[in-house]
Symmetry: C2
Subunit: 139 residues, 2 copies
């Protein structure tokens, strides 16, 4: 048995923090996807842009992509060798670069120890939730 999750079930499984995959539109490649961590509060997904998991130095491709097209998607996927335990939740929305609020910094630090040091998160991507869908196996 498989089931489409309703919005309340999706939000419950999503929780308030976690890791997932963030997708943006890339003009040439079509789609870019990157692993991210995130916190969820006030109907906003906040994805840190940090100085820890440092990339190539130039403006992050995901930010350049959002400059041109602000449609983003976050997938939170639970994989298990036992396929009766599979589930995923997906959030679509408009995403923009932002400066983290104190509340967001606190939530990120609470969820991810690496963010407890001052200055670890310098900016964020904030996605306003448009639609949430999800699916679960088993039942």
């Amino acid at each position: 048995m498989t089931m489409r999750l309703d919005e309340e079930q999706c939000r419950s499984r999503l929780g308030t923090a976690g890791h997932g995959v963030f997708g943006t539109v890339h003009a040439a490649r079509g789609v870019d996807v990157v692993p991210v961590v995130w916190v969820f509060a006030g109907d906003r997904i906040t994805i840190p842009v940090d100085a820890i998991k440092a990339k190539s130095g130039a403006r992050l491709q995901r930010l350049a992509n959002l400059d041109a097209d602000d449609r983003g998607v976050l997938l939170v996927d639970h994989y298990d060798d036992d396929w009766s335990r599979l589930w995923w939740v997906r959030v679509h929305g408009r995403a923009v670069e932002a400066v983290p609020s104190g509340e967001e910094l606190d939530a990120l630090a609470a969820a991810f120890p690496a963010y407890r040091s001052r200055g670890a998160v310098t900016k964020t991507i904030v996605m306003a939730v448009d639609t949430i869908t999800g699916w679960a196996a088993g039942g």
Copy 2:
């Protein structure tokens, strides 16, 4: 320390089978992403379309998306609470619907027990590898 993986390292970490996230272009939503399993051989990523993790019955959105735009991406992401163990590998390419070969069915059955029953995999998405990139923390 973090490092960009070279192509050989990417292929080594990717291996011959696994699970990940597959992204396609959706005209209205921008990007669609779904969890998938896959096998990799002959420079082709093969993603089964199966009758087990059944969806809503209509033609799968990922196939409709590929009809309109064949650019696909697969992300294989290793997450760990210890961020020195993070890594990911990403494959971009052109993806098309296909009928599985006997070799592909054997590889899928070897990697995923649920695919051992005849008829479990009826078609596939095959992505010819264009570029592979990857990243690892630690070192």
